[in-house]
């Protein structure tokens, strides 16, 4: 245990000492990658959050609120709530109520290495959808000063949903996804947009 902690500390010190421009991954940015899964009955936002080593402490300060070096279920839920408040999803102009469906927070030690990824999944009831064209908009305002963003629509699992257009702002913190719903088409299951396996 002591050896593991010592090794982690040594690694963190080595990483912090290494010039960021030369180092092999993003160490001063918080990567927030969102996959938007659109299904006839629900919208799912699968979000992977990876803080670089230089910003990991700032992110951890918002998660490990009692600073005991561990992330409790209560703290994980509170961080999910914090993130949720920074997300705005609308379907055809109507604000969607997001609910946390799944989450996995790695240990503070792993987060501090810059390799740890927090996974969160939020869902919102989308149906009953009317046949025809729809527009989903999503805005992510979470920790904007340190973050870089990716937002992508997942390839629909069902032929009844067809993505027709995606439009993002320059840094991908916001997007519009236009799609059509064809309820009479046979639902052919595909391989895309499946639920991630939370470890």
């Amino acid at each position: 245990m002591v050896e593991a902690v010592s090794r982690t500390l040594s690694l963190i010190l080595a990483l912090l000492a290494f010039p960021s421009a030369a180092f092999g991954h993003r160490d001063d940015q918080y990567l927030q990658a969102t996959l938007v899964v659109i299904e006839p009955s629900e919208i799912r936002l699968q979000i992977n959050l990876t803080p670089g080593v230089a910003v990991a402490e700032q992110v951890l300060a918002r998660i490990d609120r009692d600073r005991d070096g561990a992330i409790s279920k209560h703290e994980a839920a509170a961080y999910a709530e914090l993130l949720k408040r920074d997300l705005t999803a609308r379907l055809d102009g109507r604000k969607l109520e997001l609910k946390l469906a799944a989450s996995e927070l790695v240990s503070p030690a792993e987060l501090r290495t810059g390799a740890g990824t927090i996974q969160m999944e939020f869902t919102a009831i989308s149906g009953p959808l009317a046949a025809g064209a729809h527009r989903l908009t999503l805005e992510n305002r979470h920790l904007t000063t340190m973050s870089v963003y990716l937002i992508n629509a997942a390839q629909p699992r069902f032929a009844t949903v067809q993505i027709t257009r995606q439009k993002r702002n320059a840094n991908q913190s916001a997007c519009e996804i236009d799609f059509t719903y064809h309820p009479l088409r046979p639902k052919i299951a595909g391989s895309a947009g499946q639920r991630p396996s939370y470890r």
């Binding site: 290494f18 030369a22 092999g24 997942a154 439009k167 595909g190 499946q194």
Partner: protein, 338 residues
């Protein structure tokens, strides 16, 4: 690739006790040759070392244990190259040489050598030739499915074999520095990818280019390491509006990834891609001036390729991540998963 540079690289890599060495194996051998090389490597190991190399074929944790990150940050399992004796290391490299095409093997050596350049320039022991790991999932076999993994910083090769069928998906290549000097010669491990992508972009007419270029920044791979099972909605210009010549250029570009494997396997993969070329998309984000740091993506029914320069405070053209996936057959699942 300039043959003189390749020769210099291999000569340099074979020098010194801590170097990667040139092997005597025939690159791109059929499965029997790969199995023979793998068994020869295993025979050089003691029981303890063999236990580190061979995992159960059903070990999903090990199957997914690959990354772009340095080994000190993302812990691999398998046999660390730096812990092998020179004959063991030669035997390990012979497995790669047998599994890959000559150009694929050379690309891998160049990526590893780039990390050695990084180690020397930064004085950090978390980089370099020693920090690459080799492992097998399953026992080497000409009939049963098994897998070869070789990876470290900026490299995650996952070769799944099932009889004479082989796939490289999913695999990660990258380089930092993506351009370096070796004995006065310039080496660019991902140079072919870069040049062919710019050539394809410059061949597009105004209408095609307007469709291909995404109006937002792409700061990283979307479907990089750790994103197994995800598939995104394709974007960009569709193969159906490309000319025959442009389609061939697109396939030639994809060949920089598919061609890492043996020629016959690579040809079969490109033939598969050719059948659905009209449904294959090419997208671009970033500057269009030749040689600048730009992201691109190829996405079709059986392929996803991303190329993402890393803007981390330095010159993004010198630090690149790529990913190669097959949404229908990552890890060769259609050959063995019931």
């Amino acid at each position: 690739m300039n043959k003189m540079i390749a020769s210099i690289l291999l000569v340099l890599l074979s020098a010194g006790s801590n170097s990667f060495a040139q092997t005597n194996s025939t690159p791109g051998a059929p499965t029997a040759g790969i199995v023979a090389a793998a068994q020869k490597f295993l025979a050089t190991l003691d029981d303890s070392q063999r236990g580190k190399v061979v995992f159960d074929f059903k070990d999903e944790a090990q199957r997914k244990r690959w990354s772009n990150l340095p080994t000190a940050i993302f812990k691999r399992q398998g046999m660390r190259m730096g812990d092998l004796t020179r004959p063991q290391r030669d035997a390990a490299l012979a497995v790669l040489a047998a599994s890959l095409s000559p150009q694929g093997y050379e690309k891998v050596l160049q990526i590893v050598e780039a990390d050695e350049v990084l180690r020397k320039s930064g004085g950090q022991s978390i980089f370099g030739r020693d920090e690459y790991y080799l492992s097998f999932l399953g026992q080497p076999s000409t009939t049963e499915p098994w897998m070869i993994q070789f990876g470290g910083h900026h490299l995650g090769l996952n070769v799944t074999l099932a009889g004479e069928q082989r796939t490289l998906a999913p695999s990660h290549t990258g380089a930092q520095p993506a351009i370096y000097e070796l004995e006065g010669k310039t080496v660019r491990p991902l140079g072919g990818e870069t040049e062919k992508a710019f050539a394809l972009l410059s061949s597009l007419n105004e209408s095609q280019r307007k469709q291909a270029i995404l109006g937002f920044q792409m700061r990283d791979l979307v479907l990089g390491p750790g994103r197994d099972g995800q598939t995104i909605q394709p974007e960009g210009v569709k193969g159906s509006v490309l000319t025959e010549k442009q389609r061939e250029m697109l396939l030639d570009l994809a060949g920089e990834w598919t061609g890492i494997l043996h020629e016959a396997v690579a040809k079969a993969k490109l033939d598969e891609m050719r059948k659905s070329i009209a449904e294959t998309w090419f997208a671009w984000s970033g500057p269009i001036e030749k040689g600048s740091a730009a992201y691109f993506r190829i996405q079709g029914p059986t392929v996803i390729i991303e190329y993402a320069p890393q803007r981390l405070g330095g010159d993004a053209t010198r630090h690149v991540h790529t990913i190669y996936r097959d949404p229908t057959n990552d890890y060769g699942i259609k050959w063995w998963k019931r």
